[in-house]
């Protein structure tokens, strides 16, 4: 963006994303994964860090991390190591988190973000595996952190498998940041690794933001934005932060390194700020675990399980449709149904419009839809009354749905049937007829509407419109 001083400022944005893997069991013990249930009901000596308890890694979680790494084009390490990250916090039972440090499972990949103006490549620094913390519940009369008198800890989530993905500071707009997050989410969901639901916290992200004069390569002081739980909210937050930093530089100030904590429950409230303390986590290799050496055959086997990725599909579909349509279809998990419906003979653009608008509004599960029936419906769309079409859409997901009864209710376009109605309407509204003839063309809609009303919506509006015009002209 351009400031008052005439300097053009370029935002520099990096993302750190955490995704909870939906493995059966936790990362280092065999407790059921996934929070929920009575507090502390899904716990054992390992995730409660009883003296002497030892971690045993979850093979599935390692495989899924490798899978994501492969999807992101990362190098899969020949040897990966777990480290201990030491800090005291009530939700961290061992007072260290088992994470990965300088030998992560996956490093050096990228994610292609298609945009209307071409593809943008965002570098992936690393993707690694770690364990999640437990959940602190602050107890006070108000139920809020402020004025809390006690903290209760629910360890059900403690020790769940958590995937961390770190990007390079390659993102230069809030829009691209948002699109990257959407695409990454879509990728993770399609690979079956996680539900990645922001509201439930199974996907979380932190954003690092700084700005610099365009054309330079320096990295200025960054601030970290935490706890934003929607992509749109993140985009807005980033935008505001960019504006704030530019204003500071423009007025000769200095950006201070700090963290902005948003209140996930209340997007309107301004973020609280905290000075970033130089934390010393005293990382060292976790001596209770041996290094991981992912076997080549396994890596290849996992590679085979990866289908065409969302960003590739957007690119492919954008060759047929607009980029916008392709994006909506893919990030809405609708593109596979779209392909099937088009394959069954429906028009590509028409199908995309139906899926992107009516379909989403009706809240139908794409997987439950019979593509051939939907294709019939889409192809007949212009010939059946709107109300009938909308009605049909709401039943698309019903088992054994057939488009036939709806298609059979084609609109009336028979002139001999419509003309008497049209003539009656004109006769009943002589004033409006006069005005139309005098040049008030806008009244055409009034006449069509009256005819539709008289025919209870069954008339084909395009035929009616033509007939009204010729009758009034004649």
């Amino acid at each position: 963006m351009s400031g008052e001083t005439g300097v053009t400022w370029e935002p520099v944005i990096g993302l750190e994303i955490h995704v909870q893997l939906k493995t059966e069991t936790k990362m280092f013990c065999r407790c059921k994964n996934g929070a929920g249930g009575e507090p502390n009901s899904q716990t054992c000596p390992v995730c409660l860090a009883f003296p002497g308890a030892l971690p045993v890694p979850n093979r599935r979680a390692i495989e899924e991390t490798v899978k994501l790494g492969l999807a992101l084009g990362c190098t899969i390490a020949d040897r990966a190591v777990f480290h201990r990250k030491n800090y005291f916090y009530p939700d961290l039972s061992k007072a260290y988190q088992i994470s990965q440090y300088d030998e992560p499972l996956c490093s050096g990949g990228s994610l292609l973000v298609p945009t209307a103006d071409g593809d943008i490549v965002i570098g992936i620094t690393r993707a690694h595996l770690e364990e999640d913390a437990a959940k602190n519940v602050h107890v006070a009369a108000s139920g809020r952190l402020h004025g809390a008198t006690a903290t209760l800890v629910d360890f059900n989530r403690g020790g769940s498998a958590l995937l961390e993905i770190v990007t390079e500071p390659d993102i230069h707009s809030s829009e691209v940041a948002k699109r990257f997050l959407q695409l990454l989410r879509q990728t993770v969901v399609e690979l079956g690794l996680s539900d990645a639901e922001l509201e439930k916290g199974s996907m979380r992200f932190d954003v690092n933001v700084s700005v610099r004069p365009a054309g330079t390569t320096e990295l200025r002081t960054r601030t970290e934005l935490k706890n934003m739980n929607s992509f749109n909210f993140a985009a807005k937050g980033i935008e505001k932060e960019i504006t704030r930093q530019v204003a500071i530089y423009e007025s000769g100030g200095v950006v201070v390194q700090e963290t902005l904590h948003f209140d996930p429950g209340n997007e309107e409230s301004p973020p609280t700020r905290s000075k970033e303390e130089a934390q010393d986590y005293r990382y060292f290799p976790e001596p209770d675990l041996v290094p991981i050496y992912p076997p080549l055959e396994l890596v290849e086997q996992l590679r085979q399980q990866i289908g065409e990725l969302p960003s590739a599909r957007i690119g492919r579909i954008a060759d047929t449709l607009s980029f916008y349509d392709a994006d909506v279809l893919v990030t809405g998990s609708l593109d596979r149904l779209w392909s099937a419906v088009v394959e069954a003979g429906a028009d590509a653009k028409e199908t995309a419009n139906v899926l992107a608008n009516a379909f989403v509004a009706a809240g139908i599960d794409p997987a439950a839809v019979d593509a051939r029936e939907l294709a019939k419906l889409v192809s007949a769309r212009s010939e059946i009354p709107r109300a009938v079409f909308d009605e049909a859409l709401t039943h698309l997901g019903d088992p054994g749905f057939s488009a036939d009864p709806y298609v059979a209710q084609k609109a009336v376009s028979d002139v001999s049937e419509l003309d008497p109605v049209i003539e009656a309407v004109i006769a009943a509204n002589p004033g409006q007829a006069e005005q139309f003839r005098g040049g008030k063309e806008g009244l055409l809609g009034f006449f069509v509407g009256q005819v539709m009303k008289e025919t209870r919506g069954k008339a084909d509006p395009r035929v009616v419109s033509d007939r009204v015009r010729s009758k009034l002209a004649g």
């Binding site: 002497g52 045993v56 030491n86 039972s93 060292f284």
Partner: protein, 471 residues
Amino acid sequence: MGAHGIDTLRLSAEDALGLLERGEATSRELWEAYRAAIDAQNPELNAFLTLVDEPEGDGIPIAIKDVISTKGIRTTAGSKILEPYVPVFDATVAARCKAASMPCLGKTNTDEFAMGSSTENSAYGPTHNPWDLDRVPGGSGGGSAAAVAAGLAPWALGSDTGGSIKLPSAFCGNVGLRPTYGTVSRYGVVAFASSLDQVGPVTRNVRDNALLYRIISGRDVHDSTTVDVPPVLLPESEDLKGLRIGLPRQLNDLDGIEPGVKAAVASAIALAESLGAEIDECELPLSVDYGLPCYYLIAPAEASANLARFDGVRYGARSDGPDFREMVMRTRHDFLGDESKRRIMIGTYALSSGYYDAYYGTAQKVRTVIKREHDALFEKFDLLISPTCATTAFRLGEKSADPLAMYLTDVLTIPSNMAGLPGLSIPCGLSDGLPVGLQLVGPQFSENLLYRAGHALEGAIGFDPVPGRLA
């Protein structure tokens, strides 16, 4: 003679097994005999911190070091911070003893979190050496060693990080094995230094030791660092024919080895030669020079993380505070002992940003050097022999004011521990009426060889494990 005519001072576990098999004694009678010995002597020895009143199992009873979790039996690790802690699960080694029908007699005293060489760092008072009550039993597993030496248990489990099985065994005249790292599960063993901790048997003789090692060793799905172990053989052979034994000069000629220790070790070496072993001097310079300093970086570093879980949140003692941070600080201030705090501070420092490479990082590299230096020797020798400790049991209080002097007690046991190697300490004679320990070290997974050599030497040495004052 003890209860039911059972002489717990002289009975080996293998003998006790014979009594059971022949129906000459019941497990209950054995239990009661040891319990009577405990009741009689524990008040002056302080070998046990917690006693079990109702035996579980119909086999040979056992004493278990108090760093090993025992379901339903208080496990303090010698610390006030775990004074009220009763585990809800058994350590794998405790479970394996249970599976072998071995009832637990009780939990034995230890330096707090196994950090010490004299058992004087126990929050529950020191254990006294059965050979001389004014002397320490060695540490950290002084309770297990004293219990076995005084006939309060036929055998016991210890744990060894820098020498906590070998040293007390030497001081109390027992046989103690520190097994190859990875052969015995650490699951449920209160962690001191994870990359060094290893559970092992403390017994009256070498065959008992092999019997117990057979029960506790082997891969455990709960401990990723364990491996499959070759079958454990009970030693039979009385000779050492064909064995090449190395005498590392730096371990055998160390300054400060007492003359009496030197003499006892020298006569054991002479006996080994007469049993058919080939003996030769060798060199282990780097391991001895750097073993101890590197150990005192790595062990405290790991301990600083391992002990961080004692925060008062989930179990154990707690001191209240106005907020989380204050509560944790007060709890740790009030309930951790000086030595634990000292090592947490050393370890935290060694891991700190800017110091990691110089301290922890370098120490790990040196550890590889130590391992290689040992490996090279095992191309020429089957076993290495040295004293277990430069001295016999020292007096209570003699070194407790000088941490560095206390640390040096382990200078001979640490090098092979740093290399992950097994070491067996057997008694090889007396010096001024106190037992002298002989340390046999072999390559990884050479426990059978150590037992074979230890058994032959034991027969030739003919050491009487009964403390003179109890005989």
